[in-house]
Symmetry: C2
Subunit: 633 residues, 2 copies
C-alpha cells in the first residue's frame, strides 16, 4: 500500500483524499451526470468503486432498494474475484471473514442400502493450485459492502443514491448528455415522484429483469426451461457429518448442493427442484420453506436436519440466457455511433447457480465497462474504446454458457461412453480455469494485441489475465507477489522483464528505459499529460533476473524510479528482482533475453513484446490512446 | 472468525452485538465506574479493547488529549505484537498497511576512505524464523486506531473520553468504589473545570511522567543519564541506496538508526545525540530540526538527503528506568490488601528506543491487567488474581532492562574479547526471542503451574506464550494455524492433544472428555455459570494425531462440539487433526501419549499435564477460579 507521498496521512490510508468532484459532492442526485449506474448489485458496485478513482467524472449510482442489501442472493467467490478484491484493496479482509473451500465431498446412495446416502468421494477444490488466492463463500451483501467502502473512500467519494427506480430512458442523437433517464422515488416523503436525469452514459446493472435492457430494445434469450432451486440460508442442528464442507449430495429423493457459509454456523442448501417450464412455474414458485426443509431431510436420510433459524430462503430459478449485444448500438452500426447505454451482469446473461458464476462474471463486466468509461471521459482514449466492452464481454458470456453446458454434460457422462479418452484430459485442464474464473481470453482488438511474440513470455498469454508470481522488491528486500501490487487505479501497466545485464550496463533494458523516459513516441511521454507526474497514466515496473542483493538502485534507470507528488519523491516500489526460490522468469517462462508485458487496468495482458520493439509498443498505444496531448496552458 | 450463531448478522461481523452496559452506554463520563483507565496510549487502548469484551463491567478511558493521536512516538511492532493483533482480529489489516522488515543492513566507515560510509553487511531480520508473523513498522497512531475500533465494536462499546486530565487520586480503605479520582477538563467549554469519578479500580496508562504513579507514591528509578535521539519522520529525496531498508549507520560523524515507514515514502531517522545528564539536558533539547538534518547529512556522507516535508520530529530522551512495584500495595502488604491502582507501560518502565520495546511491552502490560480485572469483576476469579499483575510484569520489565543492557554491551564487544565463546552462542538463541518479544516467561503462581510435566510438550514451555503451529480443522478441512483462532475474548483455553486412539474408541482422550463434560470437579462444570453455554468461560479444543479424513465427527466427544447460543447450534471449530505436512505433534514435541496444554486468556501457557491428570487439572483451576458457582435462579 503506498501513501504519504502527498504529505503525511494521519488516519486510515485506505481513505484516499477527496479530489475533483469528490470534494463538494452534492448529497442529492443532480440533474446532470457523466455516468449513471442503474443498480447497486455486484456489477454496479464494482463499476462505482472503479469510477470513484476518476474524480474528474461525475458518477452516480441509483438503486430502487431503500438501502444496502441485507441478505441472500449469491455467495460463491471465485479465485479470480479474490484477485480482483486484492486489486481493490480488501482481499485480506474478506478472506479473514469468509468461508474457505478446501475440499468438495460427494455423497451418493449407499450401494448396499440405497435409501441411505454415503460419502462416495473427497476431492480437493483446487487440485491444480490454479491460483494463490482461495475459493471463498461469503454473502453477496458483504461483497457489496466492501465495494461500497472503496467507492466511498475513493477520490470521487461515490455513495449510492438508494430509493430511485429506473423507469425508462431515451438516447438522443446529439447533445452533451444525450441520455435522458426517468426515475421514480421508491421511498421517503417523495415516494412515487418522478425525476429526470441527463447523462453522457448509462450503465444498466439492474439484474435479470433489467428495465435498462428493455429500454434499449434488447432481450435475454434462452431456452424456455429454467432450473429451479429451493435455496435456504439456515442455522440448524444436524448429524450430517460434512455439514461444514461443500458437498454435492445425490440420493434417491433428489439432490442437494450444500454450501457452508461464513462464520462457522450458517449454511446454504440448494435443493434441486429440477427444470421448470412456463407451465410448471407457478407450482414450483409456491414451494414453501417447510416443503424445502422436508425434502432436504428426505435427501440426506439416514441423517437429519433440524432448522432452528432461517436467515433467507427463496425459490431461485435461472436458465442459460444471453443478450445478443451488451450496448445500445445495433451490430451493423458499430463504428458509426458511440454506445451510450451498456448492460452488465444478470441484465445480459444468466447462468446456472450450480456453476456459481453469476456474481463473479457480473463483477468482471462492471469492471470492464467502468475503466473504459473512465478513460474515455478523461480523454485518454477515443470513444471507440467503448465498443470493446460488448465485443469482449458478450463473447465471453456466450463461451461461458456454452462451456457450462458442455461441462455439465461431460461431468454426467461415464468415461467409457466418451469417444476419445483425451477429450476428458484436455477438458480437465480447461475445467480447472472455469470454476476459478480464469477462462476469459480477450480476442485481438484495439486493446489486445495479436500474440505475435507470445513465445517470449508463455506464462502470460495475451488476452488472459496477468497471473501474478513471486518477486523480491529491491528497495525494501521484501518477498512479494508482483501482481498483488497492481491497484484498481485505472492505469496501464508496463512490466519490463529485463535481459541478463545488470542495471548500469548498456543493454536492451537500459535502451528501452531511455526510450520510455525520453522518446516523443514513448507512450509515457506522448500520452501523459504534460503537467502530470510520469507515472500518472502508466505504471512502469522492471523485474531483473539478478537477486536483489546484486541490484544497485543508484544505477537503475529513472523511468523505473519516477518522481511523484508535490514533493517529487522517488517511488521505489517499481524495481523488482528475481526471487531465487521462485524465479518468475522460470515460473512464467519468460525469455532470458527479456520481454515487455503490457497489462490493462483490469489486469488482462494486452501485449507481449521484445525489449527492442519500441515501434510496436508506440503503435500499440497510439491505437489505445488519443493523440499526444498538448499542454493545457 | 465465528459469527451468526445468535442469528444472521447482516453487516460487518467485526462489530459485535452490544450487550450489558454497552447497550445504553452514556456518552458523558459517569460519576461512578468499575474501571477507570487513565491514558489512551498503547497500554490504555489494549486494556480498553480487552475490557470491551466484558459488558458486565463499566470501563471508561480518559486522556488529556483532545482527540486521537495523530503522529509520532513509537513505530516498531514486534512479531509478538502482531500475534496479539491477530488475537484482537486486525492482524491482516495492519500487516497490509505497515512496512515489513525483511533485512537489516549495516553501514560503516569505508576502510579505504573513512569519511565515506559503505554497506558492511546485510542480515536477515528474523534469521531463525522465530515467528510466522512479520516484524512491522507502523505509526503508533494507527495501532491505537485499530484498538480503538476493537474497543468501540466490542459488546461494551468503549470509546475514549478525550479531554480529561488526571490530577490526583485517593484510595479509601473500604467502600464499593474506594478510588476517588480527580480530573480536569482540558478542552471545550468546560475547560479547566474539575470532575470527580469514583472507581473500583484505576489503571494508570499515562506515560513516563505518570501522575497516577506519583499519586500512589511510586517512582521511576534509574541512572541519571538518558540516551537522547533526534527523531524525524520525513519525506525526502536522497541518493542513499538503502533508504527503504532498515539500517544501522555508523560513521565518523555519528550514528543513525534508519527506519523506513509504512506507505513507501516516509522514513524515520534516529540521529544519535548520545547520553545526556541533567547538566547537558537543556542543550540537547534545543537541537533544532535543521541541526538534526545537517547531522544526518554529515553521517551519511558521501550520500545526501534533501528533506522536503516533515511529518514529525522530536528530541526523544529515554533511559532505562523502572518502578519497584506496579500497583499501590506495598510489598509487605501483598495478600492482605487488594490492589486498587495499577500502572502500566511507560508509567513504570522505560527502555532505549533502539531496542524498540516501548510500545510493545506496554501493550502486553495493558493486556495482562485488563483480562485479570475482567475476571475479578465478573467474579470468575478471586481478587488475589490482581496481585499477579505486578508480580509478572515488574519482574519481566526488570529482566528486559537487564537483558537490554547486556545485549547492547555484548553487541559492542569484539568476539575475541569474550571470556567464553559459547556465551555468544547461548546469547544468540535468547537474542532471537528478544527483539521479537517472545522472551517473557512467567514464574509459577496461581495462574502458572510448576512445569512438572513439561516433557509431554517441550514445544509449549510453561510460562511462555503458546506458539502456534499448523493443524487441519476437521469440519471444513481447512489447513489453519491452531493458535490464530484464539480470540481476545477473555476465555481460558484447554488444548487436548489426543493419544493415538481414534474418536469413538475408549482412550485417555475419551475419558478426559467425559470427565470435562460431566464431572463436578471439571473446571467446565464447576466454574461455568449454570445458565451459560459450556464454552462461555472455557474454550476446549482437541487435536487428533490422525489426518482429518480419518476423523469421524459423529464420534467426537460432545465437549469438543459444544452447543452454543440461543439456537444451541454445534460449534464445529474446536476439532483439529494433524496436518501431515506440518505435524504439530512433531513440531511442538508433544508426547504421542497425548497431553493437555492450558493457555491463559493472554495466550501464555499456564500448565502442561498428562491426559489422565484430572485431579491436577481440577486443582489448578480451583486455585484460579472462585468457588463453584451456584445457580442464580
Ligand atoms: C433473489 C435472487 C436470488 C439469487 N440467488 C442466487 C443464488 O442462490 N446463487 C447464485 O449464484 N446466484 C443467485 N442470484 C444471482 C446473483 O445474485 C446474480 O448473478 C448477481 O447478483 C448478478 O449481479 P448484478 O449486479 O448483475 O445484478 P443484481 O445483483 O441482481 O443487482 C441488480 C440491482 O439492480 C437493482 N434494480 C433492479 N431493477 C431496478 C430498477 N428498475 N431501478 C433501480 N434499480 C433496480 C436491484 O435492486 C439490484 O440491487 C440471485 C439473484 C437474485 C435476485
Ligand atoms: C513524545 C514521545 C516520543 C516518543 N518517541 C519514541 C520513539 O521515537 N521510539 C520509540 O520506540 N518510542 C518512543 N516513544 C515511547 C513510546 O511511544 C512509548 O513507549 C509507548 O507509547 C508507551 O505506551 P504507554 O501506553 O505506556 O504510554 P503513552 O503512549 O505515553 O501514552 C500515555 C497517554 O496518557 C496520556 N496522559 C498523560 N498524562 C495524562 C494525564 N495526566 N491525564 C490524562 N491522560 C494523560 C497521554 O496523553 C497519552 O495518550 C515516545 C514517547 C513519547 C511520549
Amino acid at each position: 500500500m503506498q501513501f504519504h507521498h502527498h504529505g503525511y496521512v494521519s488516519g486510515d490510508p485506505r481513505v484516499l483524499p477527496a479530489a475533483g468532484v469528490g470534494i463538494d459532492r452534492p448529497e442529492d442526485l443532480p440533474d446532470e451526470v457523466d455516468v449513471l449506474i442503474v443498480g447497486s448489485g455486484p456489477a454496479g458496485m464494482i463499476a462505482a468503486a472503479q469510477l470513484s478513482q476518476f474524480p474528474e467524472i461525475t458518477t452516480r449510482i441509483v438503486d430502487r432498494r431503500g438501502g444496502r442489501l441485507e441478505v441472500g442472493q449469491a455467495d460463491g467467490i471465485q479465485a479470480r474475484s479474490v484477485e480482483t478484491f486484492q486489486c481493490f484493496g480488501f482481499a485480506e479482509r474478506i478472506i479473514a471473514e469468509a468461508y474457505r473451500i478446501t475440499e468438495v465431498n460427494f455423497w451418493k446412495p449407499d450401494p448396499n442400502s440405497p435409501d441411505n446416502i454415503v460419502r462416495a468421494a473427497r476431492t480437493l477444490d483446487d487440485e491444480n493450485g490454479i491460483s494463490e488466492f482461495p475459493h471463498l463463500i461469503v454473502n453477496q451483501a458483504r461483497v457489496l459492502d466492501y465495494f461500497a467502502e472503496v467507492a466511498a473512500h475513493g477520490p470521487a467519494r461515490i455513495t449510492p443514491d438508494y430509493g430511485y427506480e429506473f423507469a425508462d430512458l431515451e438516447v438522443a442523437d446529439e447533445g452533451e448528455r444525450p441520455v435522458t433517464v426517468h426515475l421514480r422515488r421508491t421511498v421517503g416523503e417523495q415516494e412515487g415522484s418522478e425525476r429526470t436525469v441527463r447523462a453522457r452514459y448509462v450503465v444498466g446493472c439492474d439484474g435479470a429483469r433489467s428495465p435498462v435492457r428493455r429500454s434499449i430494445g434488447r432481450e435475454l434469450v434462452g431456452k424456455d426451461a429454467n432450473h429451479a432451486w429451493g435455496v435456504m440460508d439456515v442455522l440448524a442442528v444436524t448429524d450430517f457429518p460434512d455439514i461444514r464442507t461443500k458437498c454435492a449430495i445425490q440420493s434417491r429423493a433428489g439432490s442437494i448442493l450444500l454450501i457452508p457459509r461464513e462464520g462457522g454456523f450458517l449454511f446454504r442448501m440448494y435443493v434441486d427442484l429440477g427444470e421448470v417450464t412456463p407451465e410448471t412455474k407457478a407450482g414450483v414458485r409456491q414451494k414453501t420453506l417447510e416443503e424445502i426443509v422436508a425434502q432436504a431431510n428426505a435427501i440426506i436420510h439416514p441423517y437429519s436436519l433440524e432448522v432452528r433459524n432461517v436467515a433467507w430462503h427463496s425459490v431461485y430459478e435461472v436458465g442459460h440466457r444471453l443478450t445478443d449485444k451488451f450496448d445500445d448500438v445495433p451490430a451493423d452500426q458499430v463504428g458509426t455511433r458511440t454506445p451510450r447505454v451498456f448492460i452488465t451482469g444478470d441484465a445480459c446473461h444468466t447462468h446456472s447457480a450450480k456453476a456459481g458464476q453469476g456474481m463473479n462474471v457480473s463483477m468482471q463486466d462492471g469492471w470492464n465497462i467502468a475503466w473504459k468509461l473512465g478513460h474515455v471521459l478523461t480523454e485518454r482514449s477515443p470513444e471507440s474504446l467503448l465498443d470493446t466492452y460488448s465485443a469482449e464481454r458478450q463473447v465471453y458470456a456466450k463461451q461461458l454458457i456454452d462451456f457450462d453446458r458442455e461441462w455439465s454434460a461431460l461431468m454426467a457422462t461415464k468415461p467409457e461412453d466418451l469417444e476419445d479418452p483425451t477429450v476428458l484430459e484436455d477438458f480437465y485442464v480447461k475445467t480447472a480455469e472455469f470454476p476459478a474464473g480464469f477462462m476469459v481470453q480477450n480476442a485481438p482488438s484495439m486493446i489486445t494485441a495479436e500474440a505475435a511474440h507470445q513465445d517470449l513470455a508463455t506464462g502470460f498469454p495475451v488476452g488472459k489475465r496477468f497471473k501474478s508470481a513471486p518477486a523480491v522488491r529491491v528497495a525494501d528486500t521484501n518477498p512479494v507477489h508482483l501482481g498483488h501490487h497492481a491497484r484498481a487505479d485505472g492505469r496501464w501497466r508496463i512490466y519490463v522483464f529485463a535481459d541478463p545485464a545488470a542495471p548500469g550496463e548498456a543493454s536492451p533494458t537500459a535502451h528501452l528505459a531511455e526510450w520510455l523516459a525520453t522518446s516523443p513516441s514513448s507512450p509515457v511521454v506522448a500520452h501523459t499529460p504534460k503537467e502530470a507526474d510520469a507515472d500518472t497514466w502508466f505504471d512502469v515496473k522492471v523485474v531483473y533476473q539478478q537477486q536483489h542483493t546484486e541490484i544497485d538502485l543508484g544505477k537503475v534507470p529513472q523511468v523505473f524510479l519516477p518522481r511523484v507528488g508535490p514533493f517529487q519523491l522517488i517511488d521505489y516500489e517499481k524495481v523488482y528482482a528475481s526471487d531465487p526460490e521462485h524465479d518468475i522468469f522460470e515460473l512464467r517462462e519468460i525469455d532470458r533475453g527479456g520481454a515487455v508485458v503490457v497489462v490493462r487496468p483490469d489486469q488482462y495482458v494486452a501485449n507481449v513484446l521484445p525489449l527492442s520493439a519500441t515501434d510496436e509498443l508506440a503503435a500499440f498505444f497510439a491505437g489505445v490512446m488519443r493523440a499526444p496531448r498538448v499542454t493545457s496552458a
